[in-house]
């Protein structure tokens, strides 16, 4: 029988259970006596053990058994909840999670690590009084009987106790089972039967003598009676001579029904059409009234909504060109359609959205472990866990967040003595918060640690050739230098975060999601990292621009302003680099026509669209500003490849493809070019 369908659900349940265990353990303080809390953790472990055993997974039940035993002791009060115990259990949960990962992926498990962890658990277990009960072996018991050599004859005396029937155990069922083992003869013993008026229908007054002949062993007989052990008097005797019928009166004879009663063989034929249901059954009994839906279905829905947006914008365009009177109704209809579509789209987007709490969940553990490791005292405060964002963004923001938190703990928050000397409380505060702001989600990582050291950064920047000694740089710009590649002012490169590979990769990852990250810091007081992310990846608000004969889309969120070019403000400073004086600052100009099509055009006949990414501004020179609209992002990479300066494509109302500009990429490219030019 193919269990793989259920395995997928089972693995999900394992992860949920592990999560319950971990958060339960984190909330258990040393000295806790809340039996229910411990019970919850125990149940989760028990569930994982049982399920994994049933699904035939090998190492997991064994390991979980020991874990469970320890928890069992705690919930019974036989063992105190100590910090050591919690730490060990947390570590074991990690180990178990790895085992589940490995089993799910089909990769080899780290046997050494598992054995070591198991030993530690067993050691702790053995320090209490109760010994470890042997685990029910995960191997499936064979159905074939043990000693099957000879024909044997057994005499069985069976008297159920009065109440045996009330457990739903029926003597005749037992006899049917016995009859499958061989030839059975039954004789009823009516001696205890009271008079009719005294008979209670649910009480058993009968006893039986049975004779069973066949190739069987005692264990098989006892196994049949195992459920009623204690509810009956049972004697099983082997009769030495098996020749001849017993002399006693023969009562009713239960004919063995031959092989008809044998347990059904495991089906070897494939289960037909068993696919497709695993994600569709409503999980019964959940309070929130939610259902599990596969992500593919949601993506189909989102695609359809995207198509609807395109169709609607096509109709809109169509509607704009008409002048006749009836068209008013058409226009009203279109306005209504636009509103409906937008609402539908937002609703569809919301389906994909999940609370950021899912990502924040890992941090209590991380902060605790890392704090311990670094010898720092840190308190973590989390807010805004219910702020929702797109599932994909959520998944991808995890690693960058981890890096930022690690950084804050490693370089931000100081050691307790240092803090004390500085007049700060010994325990540092790390705050994670999330909120919505203007169509974006904002995530802040704030610490009250040492902050950025301006001198160190400036020195490093000069070392790296990013700045010269007499450059005047604003505070913000100094601080955001930490996002440059290879930039780490850590004295010692700790293996935790300091290799200088981190911050620029973090920024790139956030940029790839269409967001940005900034740092604001005050030396001695602390730092705040602010990440801004779009709520959705599939649709963006775009400004259409014309460059030559082609239309491009500039993400609206990246546009600072747009203006008519004043030629007097343009100053070429080197070959192919031009600057524009925008009020007090000089910004580079990117001539899109040149960059994309290879021909230049007169600057002054077009517009300059000032765009910004990561605090850097650049002016894009375009021929004409067209309309603003929502565009559905289509991938260029699905059938083709990634193109520098282009983040994707979209389909306009007229059915043509327009490319979406990758603003951070263009700006970075511009900087790279100017640096090489300056260097050259």
């Amino acid at each position: 029988m193919d269990l793989s369908e259920f395995l997928a659900v089972f693995f999900e349940e394992c992860y949920e259970g592990l999560g319950v265990m971990e958060s339960g353990l984190l909330q258990l303080d040393a000295g806790c006596t809340d039996a229910e809390a411990i019970n919850t953790i125990f149940r989760a472990a028990h569930s994982i053990k049982g399920g994994s055993a049933t699904f035939g997974l090998n190492e997991i039940p064994q390991f979980t058994h020991v874990l469970e035993a320890l928890l069992d002791q705690m919930r019974d009060g036989r063992r105190a909840v100590t910090r050591d115990a919690i730490d060990l259990l947390l570590e074991s949960v990690d180990c178990l999670r790895e085992m589940v990962d490995g089993t799910k992926a089909g990769t080899e498990l780290n046997a050494e690590r598992i054995a070591a962890a198991q030993r530690r658990l067993e050691n702790m277990l053995s320090t209490a009084d109760s010994a470890l009960e042997p685990i029910t072996h995960p191997t499936i018991k064979e159905e074939s009987p043990g000693d099957k050599s000879n024909l044997s004859c057994w005499q069985i005396f069976f008297r159920p106790h009065a109440h045996m029937l009330q457990s739903g155990n029926d003597p005749y069922r037992l006899f049917r089972e016995l009859a499958t083992l061989g030839h059975l003869q039954v004789e009823a013993d009516l001696s205890s039967l009271p008079s009719c008026s005294e008979i209670e229908p649910e009480t058993c007054y009968l006893a039986w003598n049975l004779w069973l002949e066949g190739e069987l062993a005692r264990e098989q007989i006892l196994e049949i009676f195992q459920w009623v052990e204690g509810d009956c008097d049972l004697e099983v005797k082997k009769v030495e001579e098996h020749a001849g019928e017993p002399e006693a009166e023969v009562g009713s004879e239960v004919q063995g029904e031959g092989q008809a009663q044998t347990p059904i063989e495991t089906s070897s034929s494939p289960i037909p059409n068993a696919r497709g249901h695993k994600n569709e059954r409503a999980s019964a009994g959940q309070d929130t009234g939610s259902i599990r839906v596969s992500i593919e279905k949601i993506d189909v829905l989102i695609n359809l909504v995207g198509e609807l947006v395109i169709t609607q914008s096509m109709l809109n365009r169509f509607g704009e060109d008409f002048e006749q009177p009836q068209v008013n109704e058409l226009r009203d209809g279109l306005i209504q359609l636009t509103r409906n579509t937008r609402e539908l789209q937002e609703a569809a987007m919301h389906i994909r959205m999940l609370p950021i709490g899912a990502s924040f969940n890992r941090f209590p553990r991380l902060v605790r472990d890392l704090g311990n490791k670094l010898g720092k005292k840190v308190e973590l405060s989390v807010s805004g866990e219910n702020t929702e964002l797109d599932k994909t963004v959520l998944e991808k923001i995890g690693d960058p967040l981890v890096h930022l938190v690690r950084n804050a703990l490693d370089h931000g928050i100081e050691a307790p003595e240092v803090r004390k000397a500085a007049g700060k409380p010994e325990t540092g505060l790390l705050q994670l918060c999330a909120y919505h702001q203007g169509g974006n989600i904002v995530i802040e990582v704030r610490d009250d640690g040492a902050g950025l050291n301006r001198e160190k950064i400036l020195r490093k920047a000069q070392e790296q050739g990013l700045l010269s000694a007499n450059d005047t740089v604003g505070e913000e710009q100094v601080q955001n230098l930490i996002f440059q590649p290879g930039f780490s002012t850590a004295e010692k490169l700790s293996d935790i975060s300091g290799r200088g590979v981190g911050m620029d990769v973090v920024r790139k990852n956030i940029n790839d999601l269409g967001g940005h990250v900034q740092i604001r810091s005050e030396e001695g007081k602390g730092s705040t990292l602010t990440i801004r992310l779009p709520l959705t990846l599939a649709i963006l608000e775009g400004q259409l621009v014309r460059v030559g004969t082609e239309t491009y889309v500039v993400p609206l969120t990246s546009i600072v302003e747009s203006l008519q070019v004043e030629p007097t403000r343009v100053s070429p400073i080197a070959q192919r680099i031009e600057l524009y004086k925008l009020r007090d600052e000089y910004i580079s100009i990117i001539r899109l026509a040149q960059a994309f099509h290879g021909h230049s055009h007169a600057l002054d006949r077009g517009q300059l669209v000032v765009v910004e990414a990561d605090n850097r501004r650049v002016g894009l020179s375009v021929d004409e500003m067209l309309g603003q609209q929502q565009v559905v992002i289509k991938s260029l990479e699905t059938n083709f490849q990634q193109i520098k300066g282009v983040s994707g494509a979209t389909i306009l109302g007229d059915g043509r493809v327009a490319l979406i500009l990758d603003i951070p990429g263009l700006i970075q490219g511009c900087i790279d070019r100017s640096l090489t030019q300056i260097a050259a």
Binding site: F6, T40, S47, K49, G168
Partner: protein, 120 residues
């Protein structure tokens, strides 16, 4: 009546049991905890109840006691699905009125065989 009530807070276990028994021709209804099981059992009399022991809220033992108190379920076969090999849990279940138990892990064959044997 060959319908079976499968009670387990683990969805994967429920589904597996349910699938296995449906393949063998039984009708299966599911419940994810004791309360729900009682509701289901009260609504439509089933021929056999299969329940996990450790469940949040009302556990398996409590469920068995509650079922036995219902007139329709005085003699219905009730089996526990358990990893417990300790005599204590089995005794508790029996005292509560369980017919018997099936130990995890079990093969589909064993499950079907046991059920068929009980339901005739």
């Amino acid at each position: 009546m060959s319908s079976i009530l499968a009670v387990d807070d683990s969805a994967s276990m429920r589904k597996m049991v349910s699938f296995t028994l449906e393949q063998a021709g039984f009708e299966v209804v599911q419940a994810s905890d004791g309360q729900e099981a009682l509701r289901v059992a009260g609504g439509k009399a089933v021929g056999l109840v299969l329940t996990d022991v450790h469940m949040p809220g009302m556990d398996g033992i409590e469920l068995i006691k509650a079922l036995r108190a219902l007139p329709d379920y005085r003699h219905t076969p009730i089996l526990t699905l358990t990893t417990e090999s300790s005599a204590e849990k089995k005794a508790q279940a029996k005292t509560a009125g369980a017919t018997g138990w099936i130990v995890k892990p079990f093969t589909p064959a064993k499950l079907i065989g046991t059920i068929k044997m009980l339901l005739g």
